[in-house]
C-alpha cells in the first residue's frame, strides 16, 4: 500500500457524499501503523499470519506476510464480514490458538492444515475454506502479487494492440485480474 496514494484517495472520497464512511476510515487507518491488528486479538493475528504464510510461503515470489495478507484479513474480518462469518472464523482460530499453532514447526503446521482439510466436523473443512478464500484474496490481489507473479498493466491501451486470441507465450503471463 502506497500511503500517500491512499491518503490522496481518502481525501478525494471525502468529497463524495454517498461514499461509505467505512472505506475512508479504513484507508486512513491503513495509512497509519500497520504492524498491529485492529480487529483481531494479537493471539488470533499471530495464528492468521502463520497459517497464511504456510499456505502461500515466500519463494521466488513474495509470501503472504510480505504481501500484507494478515493485515488484509484483519480489516476484512473487522469491516467486511458479517456476524456469522466472524463467529466461524473466530471458532476455528480458537482451536489453533489453544495449540499455539504459530509456535509449532513448519512441518507440524503443515500437518495440521492437512488434517483440517479432511475434517468433516465443524469448524474443520468449512473453516479452512473460509480462511483460504480470505488468504488467497488477500494475496493474489495484493500489490506484491500484481508486480511479481502477474503482468500488472493498469492501462493496457488501445484495442489494436489487445488481440484476444494469441499464444500465451507472447503475452508474457497472466494479467493482473480486476
Amino acid at each position: 500500500m502506497n500511503r500517500r496514494e491512499a491518503l490522496k484517495h481518502t481525501a478525494l472520497m471525502f468529497g463524495v457524499a454517498a461514499s461509505p464512511a467505512t472505506v475512508t476510515r479504513a484507508l486512513a487507518e491503513m495509512a497509519g501503523d500497520s504492524s498491529a491488528p485492529r480487529y483481531l486479538t494479537s493471539s488470533q493475528y499471530k495464528v492468521v499470519a502463520a497459517m497464511a504464510e504456510r499456505l502461500l510461503p515466500a519463494s521466488d515470489t513474495p509470501g503472504a506476510m510480505d504481501a500484507g495478507v494478515p493485515q488484509f484479513i484483519d480489516v476484512c474480518y473487522g469491516l467486511f464480514t458479517d456476524a456469522e462469518g466472524k463467529n466461524n472464523l473466530r471458532t476455528g482460530l480458537a482451536d489453533l490458538e489453544r495449540i499455539d499453532y504459530d509456535h509449532l514447526s513448519e512441518a507440524e503446521q503443515d500437518d495440521i492444515i492437512r488434517s483440517i482439510a479432511s475434517d468433516n466436523a465443524k469448524p474443520g473443512k468449512s473453516w479452512l475454506r473460509q480462511f483460504r478464500a480470505l488468504a488467497f484474496n488477500g494475496y493474489f490481489t495484493s500489490e506484491a502479487a500484481a508486480k511479481s507473479g502477474f503482468i500488472w498493466d493498469p492501462v493496457p491501451g488501445n484495442g489494436s494492440n489487445q488481440t484476444q486470441c494469441i499464444p500465451l507465450a507472447e503475452t508474457g503471463g497472466v494479467s493482473f485480474y480486476e
Binding site: A18, V23, P57, L79, F80, S118, P156, Q164
Partner: protein, 570 residues
C-alpha cells in the same frame, strides 16, 4: 406550502428536463442544440466528467479489495442485492437505502443512483435495437396494448443515437435484431470464435455475435478509444464509453443554452387548467429544503421510469385527481423488467497455450431465436423470447481456494499461471406487460423530505417461468454443441423483478388515450407539453437491454417538441 417563486422571469426557460441520466442527458443535448434555453434539474450532487474518485485505484488500494463492506450491506441493503453494485469501487454511485426507502408488497429490487449522470455512469453498456418483432408483439399476441409506431419510424433515430453515442458491433442482417451504425466490434477470444463456428453450424437458426456495446473501439467525436481496463462502472476518465457526463451533457453545455441545477428534487408538475398545459415544476432544494418553482413551455420527464411516474402520480389537480395524465388509470401499471439469472456454463479442454491481452470490457451475444413468427421457431408454452450474454475466459487463482489439501510454493506458482477455459451464458428474457404489476405512492410512509415513497407490487408469471426452462435447456444444448464439458445449468427462481435494472412501462405509450398514458411521440395525451422519455413509455419490454431505445425515443421526442413549439401547437 410556502413556495418561493423568486423572480418569475429568472425562473423561466424554454424547456425543463427532469433528470440527467441516459434519457435526461439526451433531452438536454437535443433541445439545446435545437435552440431552446433548457434547465436541467437533477436531484443528486454534481459529477463533472473526470470526477470519478475510484477510476484509477488499484485493487489493493481498497481495504476490502473491492468487496462489499458491512456498512454498505446495512445502509445499502437493497442496492446490495445484485451482489456487485455496492462493492467499494462503485458503492458511492448507488443510493443509501435508509435515506431513500421504498416498500415491497412483493419483492422488487430498485437499484439506482442520484447524481448528475444517473445510471449512465454505472450501466453495463449493452446496446441493442428493438425491431418490428417487438413493435408488433402486443398487437399479435394480445398482451398489453399496441405500440403506436413501427420500426421504420424510429429507425432514423436509432441511427442518430448510435452515431453520437458510439456503439461497437457488427451487422448481421437479422430481422429480430436490426442492424445499426456501428464502430468496429471488439474481437472474440479463441474459444468464443470456436464456439461461434460450432453453434452456428449445428443450429442453423442461431448466431453467436459480438456484443453491441456503447464502448469506443476507436476514438470518436473527441472522446478517446477504450484502453481495455474493464473498470468502466467506476466512471471512465477517457470518456471511452457512453455516459451523460462524458457525452451528452458536455454537448449540451457547449451550446451555451443549458443550465444544470443539481440538488433539485422535482416533486410535481404545475398544471394550468386554463391552457390545459403544464406551466412548470415544483422542486425542493436538497441542500436547503427550500421549495421553488420553475417554468417552461415544455417539460421533459427523464427521471427514470419509477421516479417520473412518481412525479406524475404526485401531480394532483381538479382535472387530474389521481395524477397528471392518468385518465386511463394505467399510470404506475404494466411495470416490467427482464427476467434473468438463468443459463449454463462449462469447462473446455483445449487452447491451453492460447490467451488474450488486456481486460476486454465486453462480451458476446446470442440473439433471440424463438417465436420469430416464421412458424418454425414457435413455442407451445410461452410467447416472446430471450437472448444470451456471456463468453469465455481462462480461470484465475480463485480456482485454488476449494482445493483444500493443496498449499505451499507449488500451488502459489500454479495460481500465477492461467487455469483452464470456461464459457458461460446468462439469458435475458422478455417480461410481459400485466396491468396488475404496478408501483404506487405511499403517503403514509414519507421520506426525509416529507415526500411520499414508492411501493412495488410486481411479479413474474407463468409465461416467464415457462420461458426460463427453455432459456436454461437451450444454453446447455448450445454449450455442449460447442464442445464444452461438465456443462451445468443454473436458474435462480427467487430472482425478483427489478434486479435486471431495466424497470419500465409505468406510463406506457399507445394509440388510445383510454388505455395508455402517452402518445406515439412520448407526449401525455391530455397535456401535450409534457414529454416522458425514460423507460416509463415502454409498451412492451422486448428481451434486449433498453437504454439505446430510450436514447432514440428521447431524441425523436425532442425533435417533435421543437417542431410543435414552432407550429404553436404546444
Amino acid at each position: 406550502m410556502n413556495v418561493s417563486t423568486k423572480g418569475t422571469a429568472s425562473h423561466t426557460y424554454d424547456a425543463i428536463v427532469v433528470g440527467s441520466g441516459i434519457s435526461g442527458g439526451w433531452a438536454a443535448k437535443e433541445l439545446t442544440e435545437k435552440g431552446l434555453n433548457t434547465l436541467v434539474l437533477e436531484r443528486g450532487r454534481d459529477v463533472k466528467h473526470g470526477d470519478y474518485p475510484t477510476a484509477m485505484m488499484e485493487k489493493w488500494e481498497f481495504p476490502g479489495r473491492n468487496t462489499i463492506s458491512q456498512e454498505s450491506r446495512e445502509r445499502q441493503a437493497k442496492q446490495s442485492r445484485t451482489g456487485y453494485t455496492t462493492r467499494e469501487a462503485t458503492a458511492h454511485w448507488f443510493v443509501d437505502d435508509i435515506d431513500n426507502p421504498y416498500s415491497e408488497d412483493k419483492a422488487f429490487d430498485w437499484c439506482r443512483g442520484y447524481h448528475v449522470g444517473g445510471r449512465s455512469l454505472m450501466w453495463g453498456r449493452q446496446s441493442y435495437r428493438l425491431g418490428d418483432l417487438d413493435f408488433e408483439a402486443n398487437a399479435k399476441d394480445g398482451f398489453g396494448v399496441d405500440w403506436p409506431l413501427r420500426y421504420a419510424e424510429i429507425k432514423p433515430w436509432y441511427d442518430h443515437a448510435e452515431r453520437f453515442a458510439g456503439i461497437s458491433g457488427q451487422n448481421e442482417g437479422l430481422y429480430q435484431l436490426p442492424d445499426g451504425d456501428f464502430l468496429p466490434p471488439f474481437e472474440m477470444n479463441c474459444l468464443e470464435k470456436h464456439a461461434k463456428q460450432r453453434i452456428e453450424k449445428k443450429f442453423g437458426d442461431r448466431k453467436l455475435i459480438h456484443a453491441r456495446v456503447a464502448h469506443l473501439s476507436q476514438a470518436h467525436l473527441g472522446r478517446g478509444g477504450c484502453h481495455f481496463r474493464n473498470r468502466c462502472s467506476r466512471g471512465c476518465p477517457y470518456g471511452a464509453y457512453f455516459s451523460s457526463n462524458a457525452s451528452t451533457l458536455p454537448a449540451a453545455a457547449a451550446t451555451g443554452r443549458m443550465t444544470l441545477r443539481p440538488f433539485s428534487i422535482v416533486t410535481e408538475l404545475i398544471y394550468d387548467q386554463e391552457t390545459s398545459r403544464a406551466k412548470g415544476v415544483r422542486i425542493l432544494d436538497a441542500e436547503t429544503g427550500e421549495a421553488m418553482e420553475y417554468y417552461a413551455k415544455v417539460v421533459f420527464l427523464c427521471a427514470s421510469a419509477i421516479a417520473s411516474t412518481s412525479i406524475l402520480l404526485n401531480s394532483k389537480s381538479d382535472r387530474f385527481p389521481t395524477g397528471l395524465g392518468n385518465d386511463s388509470g394505467e399510470l404506475g401499471h404494466n411495470l416490467m423488467d427482464h427476467h434473468f439469472k438463468v443459463g449454463a456454463s462449462g469447462r473446455y479442454d483445449g487452447f491451453e497455450d492460447m490467451y488474450y491481452k488486456g481486460r476486454r470490457p465486453t462480451s458476446t451475444y446470442i440473439p433471440r431465436f424463438r417465436n420469430l413468427g416464421d412458424g418454425l421457431s414457435d413455442q407451445k408454452d410461452y410467447v416472446r423470447g430471450f437472448g444470451y450474454q456471456g463468453g469465455a475466459s481462462r480461470t484465475n487463482w480463485t480456482r485454488g481456494v476449494a482445493e483444500l489439501a493443496r498449499f505451499g510454493a507449488d500451488l502459489k506458482a500454479d495460481m500465477f499461471a492461467p487455469g483452464g477455459w470456461r464459457m458461460g451464458y446468462g439469458s435475458w428474457g422478455e417480461h410481459l406487460p400485466y396491468h396488475e404489476n404496478r408501483m404506487y405512492l405511499n403517503y403514509d410512509k414519507t421520506d426525509k423530505w416529507g415526500m411520499p415513497t414508492v411501493t412495488f407490487d410486481c411479479e413474474f408469471k407463468e409465461n416467464e417461468r415457462n420461458m426460463r426452462k427453455d432459456m436454461q435447456a437451450s444454453a446447455i444444448e448450445m454449450l455442449e454443441a460447442a464442445g464444452l464439458k461438465d456443462v451445468t445449468g443454473f436458474d435462480d427462481p427467487t430472482s425478483a423483478p427489478g434486479l435486471c435494472i431495466h424497470e419500465m412501462g409505468t406510463a406506457r405509450m399507445g394509440r388510445d388515450p383510454k388505455t395508455s398514458v402517452l402518445n406515439g411521440h412520448n407526449q401525455v395525451h391530455a397535456v401535450p407539453n409534457v414529454f416522458v422519455t425514460d423507460g416509463s413509455f415502454m409498451t412492451s419490454s422486448s428481451c434486449v437491454n433498453p437504454s439505446l431505445t430510450y436514447m432514440a425515443f428521447t431524441a425523436r421526442a425532442a425533435d417533435h417538441a421543437v417542431n410543435e413549439l414552432n407550429r404553436h401547437n404546444i
